[in-house]
């Protein structure tokens, strides 16, 4: 394709990407480098149905004047990134100095909101992603062997978890795993423990969230693998059969190598998706035991006083996190590309 044709061809999507991806990102970075103006506080007498009290309040006129002078707020550089709500460099250094063994250091680290969220986010990402791939492949191989009559209905049922909106799916499960719910009661009966509650302990909450994550994402891997399976060369399979390969050997040495590019694709998408885990935490009311980077952003934006600057800093850190996670896969793809070009 000629360069000019290519340019005109890509222009609409390029414009959309600049408008909806690049510019918001620039705006978020700028916001994360600022903090709000000093608030001018005065003491006023406030009265209401329950009597009068002397209380602090914001001198809105004086604060408005400051705001008009510098609409973005005070430039703070990277201070927000390093404060206790984010990378907490001072607190981490202090924890390292006064550490009581490595375990003590990690528990001090886990006490900081950002690292607590990061711990869950990474555990979730690195457990759910491979499980989704394995489970998706198993479903795809199973469905591929079904008789044509059963295939349609099975595919439909297997896709259901993906069709349900994540928030709704997790809310439904939240009620089902309640101590009074059908899953909760069954588990209590199975383990013969009337006090068993999936919502109460951190470990069980983490397991619940991850099981939910696998349940809701496996259909995606399944669909991709199933499509891939339709392109496996039947000659190679037949040749392997004539050579006396078992079903397992055929899968291991013919099918899986054929599907490898799809594994890379699914891991990329799943790493990105799982790193941004959010809906199940809200749906399962799990914030007591598990928070994620996205949940921290949400909490900043949803309190009485919204903290845009703090939310912006966490967003930038999330973007950096995604970039680090994806870099091995991206570097590999780039090498392959260069190899082909040479």
């Amino acid at each position: 394709m000629r360069h000019k044709t290519f340019f005109w061809f890509i222009l609409p999507s390029l414009a959309a990407m600049i408008l909806f991806i690049a510019l918001p990102l620039v705006s978020v970075v700028i916001q994360s480098l600022h903090i709000e103006h000093e608030q001018v506080i005065v003491t006023t007498e406030n009265c209401g149905p329950f009597g009068c009290t002397e209380e602090s309040s914001v001198d809105t006129e004086a604060t408005a004047a400051l705001r008009a002078e510098q609409p973005l707020g005070r430039f703070a550089g990277l201070t927000t990134y390093f404060d206790r709500g984010h990378l907490a460099t001072a607190e981490v250094a202090e924890a390292w100095r006064s550490r009581d063994g490595l375990g003590g250091f990690f528990s001090a680290l886990y006490n900081l909101p950002f690292y607590k969220a990061l711990a869950f986010t990474l555990t979730y990402t690195f457990l759910v992603t491979p499980l989704v791939i394995v489970l998706g492949l198993m479903i795809a191989l199973g469905v591929n062997r079904l008789t044509p009559v059963l295939k349609g209905p099975t595919i439909f049922v297997s896709l259901l978890p993906m069709i349900i909106t994540p928030l709704i799916g997790s809310l439904i499960l939240f009620w089902m795993i309640d101590a009074q719910g059908v899953i909760g009661k069954t588990l209590q009966w199975l383990f013969d423990d009337p006090d068993l509650s999936l919502k109460a302990s951190p470990v069980l909450t983490w397991i619940t969230l991850m099981v939910y994550g696998v349940w809701s994402s496996a259909p995606f891997a399944f669909v991709v693998f199933y499509a891939g399976l339709q392109t496996v060369n039947s000659d190679s399979i037949e040749a392997a059969m004539i050579d006396g390969a078992t079903r397992w050997q055929r899968i291991r040495y013919v099918v899986i190598p054929h599907l490898t590019p799809l594994v890379v694709f699914i891991s990329l998408i799943q790493l990105m998706d799982n790193f941004r885990v959010f809906e199940p935490i809200v749906g399962f009311s799990a914030q007591a035991n598990a928070t994620s980077l996205s949940y921290i952003i949400f909490a900043d934006m949803r309190s009485d006083i919204t903290r845009f600057n703090s939310a912006a800093a966490t967003s930038v850190l999330t973007v950096i996190g995604v970039a680090i996670l994806l870099s091995p896969v991206l570097v590999r793809t780039w090498r392959d590309f260069k190899g082909k070009a040479a």
Binding site: E36, Q39, N46, F50, S56, S57, D304
Partner: protein, 411 residues
């Protein structure tokens, strides 16, 4: 009276009613109301809508997430909503950003009959008109307490003792419940307990936090003893969950919002046995304190700054119509109204008793919201037993300081 004359009379009444209300004497204006969603606010919004007609439009968006919408909606110019029903905590961000207008002139013109105690004044200017009061207080099951041989508790120490007695008697495994969901709800319980123990959240005259002290530890320890009597899922309990387990008869004592009283005492969602034995009493005192460990709240309306004077006037008149004695009379049991003509009902007994006990109002301080959020995020680990009370309070203070620096309250 024959059916026919009855019909004519009621038709005349409807006719008179509409002519009296249409436009509420206004020549025009657009009114749009944002507010929380529960029975009392719905009644107020309906009352305000009676003013629609003759060039006046009245719309409403009642939504339990109104707190998250209000600042952004009123910052726009012209504002998305002309009037907001808010509370003593939710009004603070509106005041901080100068998004609501003083109402003195409008009151002089259209609100002469409002009582002085309804006016919320900040620095001498009326910024909001309150119409109802709310507070968390104790709901008790008289039959279960009687079966356990304890009387209605007046202090949290008695609540804990009564809870243990009920548990030991094998009546209920988890006798107590409160709104202890991680986040805003849990922080609110700490606020109650800390004020009940006589604490204050900030060093006098500053925005410096002041919760990591003996009072804070005592408040947390009381909370921990209480949640030990709650269902292990207590960190997921919001008002809806507590109301549901109350109506299912799973708990004998609950510290819950007064505005839930109507829902609990109505004949829906529960059995006559549970409703008949439910009593609404004052919030308990704690640690030898004399005032109940709770906070008083008002719900009131405010008018946006960024709207035309015509719309502001129309909004004020419509809202005043929404809290008229007629509306209050028709919805008497829906709330503890602060409006003249309100008759106290069983559903309001708990709030009234808590207010007469001298309970403090929730602090209307610009940085209280940040403290509330910090407490909600950091106290869970202590209750779960994975850190000490001092550590939890130190974390809350540190988290508050980081937020207050970013928002310009601390340097």
């Amino acid at each position: 009276m024959s059916i026919k004359s009855k019909f004519i009379l009621s038709a005349a009444a409807v006719f008179l009613g509409t002519t009296a209300y249409a436009g509420c004497g206004l020549s025009g204006g657009n009114v749009s109301i944002l507010g929380n969603e529960f029975a009392a606010i719905q009644a107020v919004a309906e009352g305000a809508k009676q003013c629609a007609g003759d060039g006046v439009t009245v719309e409403s968006n009642l939504n339990k997430d109104y707190r998250e919408l209000q600042v952004a909606a009123l910052t726009a110019n012209p504002a998305q909503y002309t009037a907001v029903t808010t509370t003593n905590a939710a009004i603070v961000p509106l005041l901080n950003s100068d998004l609501i207008r003083p109402l003195d002139e409008l009151i002089a013109k259209h609100g002469q009959h409002l009582s002085k105690s309804q006016m919320i004044t900040v620095d001498g200017k009326v910024m909001a008109v309150a119409f109802m009061a709310n507070a968390q207080h104790l709901f008790i099951r008289e039959d279960i307490l009687k079966a356990a041989g304890v009387k209605a508790p007046q202090t949290y120490e008695e609540v804990i003792a009564a809870g243990k007695a009920i548990k030991d008697a094998g009546l209920l495994q988890y006798p107590f419940a409160t709104t202890s969901k991680t986040g805003w709800d849990l922080a609110q319980e700490f606020v109650n307990m800390y004020l009940g123990h006589g604490g204050s959240f900030f060093k006098p005259g500053t925005a410096e936090p002041n919760v990591n002290n003996e009072t804070g530890v005592a408040a947390l320890n009381t909370l921990k003893e209480l949640v030990a009597l709650s269902n292990p899922d207590y960190l997921t309990f919001d008002s809806n969950a507590v109301q549901a387990s109350w109506e299912a008869g799973e708990v004998a004592m609950a510290h819950l919002w007064g505005s839930r009283g109507t829902g609990i005492l109505d004949d829906e969602g529960s059995t006559a046995e549970i409703v008949g034995n439910t009593a609404l009493i004052a919030s308990p005192t704690v640690g030898g304190g004399s005032t109940p460990a709770s906070t008083l709240w008002w719900d009131g309306f405010v008018i946006a700054s960024n709207v035309s004077d015509e719309d502001a006037e129309a909004s004020f008149v419509a809202m005043v119509n929404g809290i008229s004695p007629e509306v209050v009379k028709a919805n008497n049991d829906a709330a503890v109204w602060l409006v003249k003509g309100y008759e106290p009902s069983p559903a309001s007994a708990g709030v009234s008793a808590t207010a007469t006990g001298g309970t403090k109002p929730y602090p209307m301080i610009p940085f209280m919201g940040l403290m509330h959020t910090a407490l909600g995020a950091e106290l869970t680990e202590f209750l779960q037993g994975s850190e000490s009370a001092e550590q939890a309070l130190a974390d809350a203070e540190a988290s508050y300081v980081a937020a207050a620096k970013e928002k310009g309250f601390l340097n």
